[in-house]
């Protein structure tokens, strides 16, 4: 159960939102909508603990996430605006590093399968891939992250073609069905069955 109470967010002297509260249980999908610069990414970063809100707090199963730190981090997957892949490494090496960093024990076979699922060449350096393929390489992490109950995704559908967007939608849907929670930002309708929507 992810809860936020009375969140205030200020960036660069400007108030983005005030007194925002939300609660997200298992199997729920939350869409954060709003115009550019309305604070979608900031809210997402607050929810995963990368950003400290000006007021209010975020709780995971009743405990403040600042006091849980790594314990909370093991329960979430955050995919930010930047794809978090190293240009010099191959898709497989990137995915392996990302999983190890997140504390996920994943076999080589599972890694290959996840990359193949998203159609990412595993043995090519990421620098040789297109923008959309990079995005796919980052999203491949979702295919091996069933164990983490909360997925926080920043604009997951940008730079994706129709096929990859559909794959991602299916993955998010399956995750929610298995009792996971999904929070994602978008400024367009992504065609997911959102159980909640916040417009900033």
């Amino acid at each position: 159960m992810l809860e936020a109470h009375g969140l205030d967010c200020e960036r660069g002297g400007r108030t983005l939102f005030r007194g925002l509260s939300l609660a997200l249980g298992p199997g729920e999908t939350l869409r954060i909508g709003g115009a550019n610069g309305s604070g979608k990414t900031s809210l997402l970063r607050i929810l995963c603990g990368l950003l400290t809100p000006a007021a209010g707090e975020v709780r995971w199963n009743g405990a403040r996430i600042q006091s849980l730190r790594e314990e909370y981090a093991r329960n979430i997957v955050y995919l930010g605006h930047a794809p978090a892949v190293k240009d010099e490494l191959t898709g497989a090496e990137n995915l392996r590093a990302a999983c190890a960093l997140a504390g996920l024990a994943v076999s080589a076979g599972q890694l290959r399968e996840a990359l193949a699922h998203f159609g990412v060449p595993g043995d090519k350096a990421v620098r040789q891939l297109s923008q959309g393929q990079r995005r796919r390489a980052a999203l491949a992490r979702l295919a091996v992250s069933w164990a983490a109950p909360v997925w926080l995704l920043d604009e997951p559908f940008t730079a994706l073609d129709a096929g990859a967007a559909q794959l991602t939608r299916t993955l998010l849907g399956e995750h929610a069905q298995r009792g996971g929670s999904v929070v994602y930002t978008t400024h367009q309708d992504a065609g997911l069955h959102d159980s909640r929507v916040i417009e900033l």
Binding site: R69, A73, G80, A82, V85, L101, G103, A125
Partner: protein, 218 residues
């Protein structure tokens, strides 16, 4: 932690030119002095430890800017902040990898460069040993500076201003140990202090780096 070191080394191996530039910078700086000062062996012998150490300081600093900048730009830093391991451990791994790539080669090549200064044969070991103990401290302290100046405009110069004063004790002890040994006074005292600095830096610097990373990534 192991995966961070593995990834850093892999990236460094695929960007060999970056590693090479730092090493080449060290070689060139050290080699410029004999050309500028002239070929008086007595003079060079006295100056050698100080010059080699200052050059090591500068080249270690040269590569610090990249320590977290690339991770910050491509988003991997956020993943490290949200990693399953404590951020301090990740920062320690980053500093260790930085040392392996930009400190250890200096240790290996310094005795060779010292030939230009006609350093007495007995001092090569001392020089390498002092660098072996001192360069990891540079990477550890430098990590704090690199984390603090992350995302700051003109961060490179700021980093130098921030980090170089903190390098002074390492320089004094490192160059001092070789000078002491050349004066026939051993120099073990300075080496022990360098060792103590390394232990203290290894214990505390990664946590300071972690705190700085959290602040600058907000």
């Amino acid at each position: 932690m192991r995966v961070v070191v593995w990834r850093e080394l892999l990236v460094a191996m695929r960007r060999r030119s970056d590693v090479g530039t730092v090493l080449l910078f060290f070689v060139i700086v050290v080699s410029l002095f004999p050309l500028g000062i002239g070929a008086d062996p007595d003079k060079l012998r006295v100056l050698a430890p100080g010059i080699i150490w200052v050059a090591a300081l500068l080249s270690s600093m040269l590569s610090l800017g990249r320590l977290f900048a690339a991770d910050y730009a491509d988003g991997t830093l956020e993943q490290m902040l949200l990693g399953a391991a404590p951020l301090g451990a990740t920062a320690a791994a980053k500093a260790f990898a930085h040392w392996l790539v930009s400190g250890l080669p200096l240790v290996a090549i310094a005795p060779l460069l010292a030939l230009q200064y006609d350093l007495p044969a007995g001092l090569y070991g001392m020089l390498a040993l002092s660098l072996l103990l001192g360069t990891p401290v540079l990477s550890l302290i430098g990590g704090i500076g690199a984390a603090l100046t992350l995302g700051v405009r003109g961060g490179g110069v700021l980093l130098a201003l921030l980090v170089l004063p903190l390098y002074v004790p390492v320089l004094v002890m490192g160059a001092g140990s070789v000078e002491m040994a050349s004066a026939g006074l051993g120099g073990q005292g300075q080496l022990l202090i360098l060792g103590a600095m390394l232990i203290v830096a290894a214990a505390f610097a990664p946590w300071a780096t972690a705190a700085a990373l959290r602040i600058s990534s907000e």
